[in-house]
Point group: C2
Chain length 489, copies 2
């Protein structure tokens, strides 16, 4: 892909050149105040307006999803994605484009199937959870025990669970902030271990998703080397509903679960990094992250092709300005967000000595819909500076809110090192309709939403890169993330 491969892209580039040239005299002026104003518009608000009409981020997602496709950790698809990313960053004008080594786990799905076998016959649409062990040939067959939580299976105890297949039926609530996912997902992570400890022979869960399609949602389950586990799969939501109704009407119900998934040896893989070098303070870094890997069922358009499109195009926009940003804007496309976060850990480990020069980090990993809120976590006294930068997002419908930012999953280790975090909260109302399913494909991309978030990232990155002073460090007591447990480098 060249930087100008489509008509839309070419029109856009012409617009960047014209608009930037018109305001060239003031682009790159320090600070966030009145000095930036010229012709009644700051360079950041012009940047925002250009990004809003561009389809550059969408074109990046198209290229990644069409030309690479599924790219789970350790796969040939991920290798192809690394090649794609190196080529794309170079073609789009990035400097210091490189692959940085990451060791990743390698798990393969194989063939899989499931069916209610008694008292009626019904094929079930399911997908192994990422990291599940496979079944013996012919699968495991057992009576189903339905529960609503991890606590409920513990309460049932060994007598009720041994020899059976445990069915965790936990609905995912639809919410703009995506909070339904966090509330439901615990059974995906820990359900197999908890059931195995009580002698179960297998686990199925209701997909952690808000749709009604017969397309199961996969996702990582925990796998501890020395603890018992069992084969585990997610049922598509309609199949989960069917199983529930059959159990209500006809208990006992038996099902067969046949999973061909397996673990292979770890693979030497890579994060891909590229930079828009800063003109004034090139060693100070504003990090824009997304993850390059995807699950295997779809082509990873919303998770996280969208994020790749957002950060690559936002940084490219900064690189297209007549004057580069003062600090370096570094794009990091992380390996293996989905299966254990080894990309984020490897980056933090390799760049630990630079932690103090990472002025802030933002990750785009929340899909394709518009942003509605900006959150910050850094030195409390730097909040006002972020609020000033955020003023240029007001017209996008993005409000600066008081809550602490969390930071994307890949940024956890940087957060632990005190690097300030900025979150653009995106509308997640429909995100969990497609997340981790075969339906996560390019047609689900909303170009307007993607352009709006790209505009936000461009404005924020430009603002932080050109900020007088910095954003401090995250206070010690706030460095530990809560969403995914303790952060280890």
């Amino acid at each position: 892909m060249s930087g100008c491969s489509t008509t839309v892209d070419c029109v856009f580039y012409a617009a960047v050149v014209l608009l930037a040239a018109a305001g060239a005299g003031c682009v790159g002026t320090h600070g966030t105040g009145a000095g930036l104003e010229a012709n009644g518009a700051s360079p950041r608000s012009r940047l925002r307006d250009i990004a809003l009409v561009s389809r550059g981020a969408t074109e990046i997602v198209r290229s990644l999803t069409d030309e690479v496709g599924p790219r789970p950790a350790g796969s040939l698809g991920y290798q192809a994605a690394v090649e794609w990313a190196l080529r794309t960053l170079r073609e789009r004008g990035f400097s210091n484009v490189r692959a940085e080594p990451v060791t990743v786990p390698h798990w393969e799905r194989g063939e899989e199937s499931g069916a209610v076998v008694s008292p009626v016959s019904q094929p079930l649409r399911l997908a192994a959870l990422g990291g599940s062990i496979g079944t013996p040939p012919g699968g495991v067959t057992g009576e189903v025990v339905e529960v609503e939580s991890l606590e409920a299976v513990d309460k049932l105890g060994r007598a009720a669970v041994a020899g059976k297949i445990v069915y965790y039926n936990v609905p995912t609530a639809r919410a703009r902030d995506g909070s339904g996912y966090g509330k439901a997902v615990a059974v995906r992570g820990a359900g197999a271990q908890r059931a195995a400890a009580l002698g179960a022979v297998g686990v199925v869960i209701r997909s952690i998703g808000t749709d009604h399609n017969r397309l199961p949602h996969t996702g990582m389950m925990r796998r501890e080397p020395n603890e018992p586990t069992v084969p585990a799969a997610a049922l598509a939501v309609p199949d989960a509903d069917l199983l529930h109704r059959l159990i209500e009407a006809h208990r006992p119900v038996a099902l067969n679960l046949t999973l061909g998934c397996r673990w292979l040896a770890d693979v030497e893989s890579a994060n891909v990094v590229g930079e828009i070098r800063g003109a004034v303070r090139p060693d100070e870094i504003v990090l824009l992250g997304a993850h390059l890997d995807s699950w295997d069922l779809g082509t990873g358009a919303i998770d996280d092709g969208a994020g790749v499109g957002i950060v690559v195009h936002a940084a490219q926009l900064l690189g297209s300005l007549p004057r580069p940003p003062e600090r370096t804007v570094r794009v990091v496309l992380f390996a293996n967000e989905e299966h254990g976060l080894s990309g984020g850990r490897a980056y933090a480990l390799a760049h630990r000595a630079e932690a103090a020069t990472h002025i802030a980090a933002l990750e785009a990993d929340a899909g394709t819909e518009s942003g509605y809120a900006l959150r910050f976590l850094g030195a409390p006294e730097a909040k006002g500076r972020m609020a000033e930068i955020a003023a240029d997002l007001k017209s996008l419908g993005i409000d600066f809110v008081g809550d602490d930012a969390h930071g994307g999953a890949d940024l956890g280790p940087l957060r632990a090192l005190g690097v300030p975090m900025v979150d653009v909260a995106q509308d997640a109302t429909t995100y969990f309709d497609y997340h981790h399913t075969a339906n996560d494909t390019f047609d689900k991309i909303n170009p307007q939403g993607l352009a709006q978030v790209t505009a936000a990232f461009a404005v924020i990155a430009h603002g932080i890169a050109n900020l007088d002073g910095d954003l401090g460090r995250i206070p010690e007591q706030k460095r530990e993330g809560t969403r995914r447990g303790p952060i280890k480098l």
Copy 2:
């Protein structure tokens, strides 16, 4: 299933008994005029109001889809459906419940897969068209030639098509009247033959569907014993879009198509018939039809579990009245609508001598959403009588419109014999999101819509069953349907 297996059903039956008892003196009074009025409401408008609050039709769909599931012609699932139907009709108070013999074709899907193999690798989600031949082991691989119509492939000619895989990319437009389907479906029926005649090695079509899910839409293709054919499959819509984009960007594109489908020997199967016997003219018949078979991918909830629910529950409502209808209301659950209409042909052949005593026929085979129009085709002079009956549907939002009825697919042979047809046009805006896919499952049922259509069928059936005089015959020149070609018995 008993007739009162759920709380909703039980409440409903109590309501029928109470309401019917209150108006018992006038239920069954002849004619459609003022004689039916009592307490300000006709028996038909009471019937309508009771049906509207009932969930009986939905419960029938649940039972069929949960307890039988997929039931394509010739399969064990269809055998189970016949047993289910005989039991259900008996339990719900029908008389003369019987299976009537039908010989059906037997085609099985087997394992299937597809992928773009050059210049990139992308798995494709596809489903063999019903009736396709299988591929050799390893499948067929070829360069793809994309066309927009049957005429376009003819125009390309043998030199451009021989040895290639033809891709028919015809979008299906969303429309309330479902007309987008009829406009797009020709390539499904005839595409393989047309491509085979020019030396193609395989065919893929864009699914005839309006959704964006990675769930392909199957459906019948034509198969003439003495004409060449090739393996043919439908791509899910997102996969069809992907293939189109890849061809635009990277022609030539090659794909592999591996279909394990095969033809087996014909099977002796059955229509299932049951009656609410008429009290006054039992040999005169109002036929309510739906089809009992489904495609194999889903559980046939909207196609045509919904129709089964509508006609069985509507007739059951008539049977629950203190006075039975004057004429017999006969429910016919047809075998094999999907794969060649042999159920409808067998019924017409077996009941040919009774054609003159079939006063009218209605089929429910348009899903789960509300009706909006009523159409009639019979003696022109009988139109006014139908309009009178239709007056009771006005409050349901169903208007009597002037266009001729067509009659459901299974009714074509009866139409050819002159039996008057009545159509309830249902809102098909979302029907082709699910039709013939794995997504056609119980959760797609809209209980309110189903109840409204059930109310309409009950009112119409009661009106015709109790009509003074009849609806005549369809004029000779209007007996031939147009949708599926000439009708043969």
